[in-house]
């Protein structure tokens, strides 16, 4: 942080632009480039998941060749895994707050717990997919199957990428290789993580709980 400050004093009057985005004064809006682009990206992701959810809603009733949603969903199990993902949002918030306090130890700790909870969720999903498969719902069994696996699979991939990002942040934080503002790096991963959680809030209700 100290050298950033030095840098600011040196260049505040001359520098303007991209490469100066760690210096809040350098941007026209005073907002960080990174955070702005993360929010834009999340806005864009709304349209991606919207398309997948709509496709599922359209096709959820089309399952002549195999089991339908009512026969196959295990609500208690999914509730538990939804709860786990929800709690990982809490641990993520705690990580962000620790990072803002420059408390590296707790940041790493909470990030690790978040990643573990995420892994538990993905594990639950793998278990769910396997048991559905054994009950006769393959990816190509019916339109319901294809659209269900596509939607939840995309979400699962997002969670998995999130876990990788969390672990990378923990790893490079311990090695002190983060270039730039640590708290912001943690915050950015946090935004992504919460978004993935929020998508699951919608999927849990629309896909699992509302009877078709």
């Amino acid at each position: 942080m100290a050298d950033i400050a030095v840098h600011d004093v040196d260049h505040a009057h001359t520098d303007h632009g991209a490469y100066e985005d760690h210096a809040p004064h350098a941007t026209s809006t005073g907002l960080s480039n990174n955070k702005l682009s993360m929010w834009l990206f999340l806005g864009s992701e709304c349209l991606l998941f919207g398309g997948l959810i709509s496709t599922y809603m359209l096709y959820r009733g089309r399952h002549e060749a195999g089991p339908g949603p009512d026969q196959i969903f295990d609500i208690p199990l999914t509730s538990v895994s939804s709860f786990i993902l929800l709690m990982s949002s809490l641990t993520m918030v705690l990580a962000v707050n620790s990072a803002k306090r420059k408390d590296d130890r707790n940041t790493s700790l909470w990030l690790t717990i978040t990643a573990l909870l995420g892994a538990l969720f993905v594990g639950g999903q793998v278990y769910e997919f396997t048991s559905f498969y054994h009950e006769g719902l393959g990816f190509t069994t019916s339109l319901f199957g294809s659209s269900f696996y596509t939607l939840t699979g995309f979400h699962g991939v997002h969670v998995t990428l999130g876990i990788i990002m969390l672990m990378v942040v923990v790893f490079i934080m311990q090695r002190d290789r983060i270039t730039g503002d640590k708290a912001e790096v943690v915050e950015l991963v946090g935004l992504y993580w919460h978004f993935v959680d929020v998508v699951w809030v919608i999927i849990f209700t629309l896909v699992y709980l509302i009877p078709s």
Partner: protein, 119 residues
């Protein structure tokens, strides 16, 4: 669109002048205990959501609207509190809610043209 951005633009600039730098916003971000309280509320709502699965037949007509409302509550609590949208620059809200709003609008119309809401 631009008017909104322009407006928040200057608001942020004023803000950041006052605080000296962007993390001035973070001053408003609550303590850990606040987030834990929010998480407890979210957990309770989730439990309520799950309970609809065991609701008696007579209540099933109310289940769908109740679930949608609870979903919206959870969604906006996470987005505005956990993701700090409430405490942060309005520009971020503009970015995200534009995407969200477009998605809701476009896909509702999409499902409508398939007569999805007819029954």
């Amino acid at each position: 669109m631009s008017a909104a951005v322009e407006h928040t633009d200057s608001a942020t600039e004023a803000n950041h002048d006052a605080h000296g730098h962007e993390h001035g916003h973070d001053g408003h971000v609550p303590k850990d205990s606040y987030f834990i309280k929010i998480a407890i509320i979210l957990a309770v709502v989730t439990a309520l959501e799950t309970s609809t699965y065991w609701w008696p037949e007579s209540l099933s007509a109310a289940a769908t609207p109740a679930l949608l409302i609870m979903m919206a509550i959870k969604f906006f609590m996470i987005v505005s509190i956990f993701m700090h949208l409430k405490f942060d620059s309005k520009i971020f809200s503009f970015m995200f809610y534009t995407g969200l709003g477009l998605a809701v609008f476009v896909y509702l119309v999409f499902l409508f043209t398939f007569q999805f809401f007819r029954t």
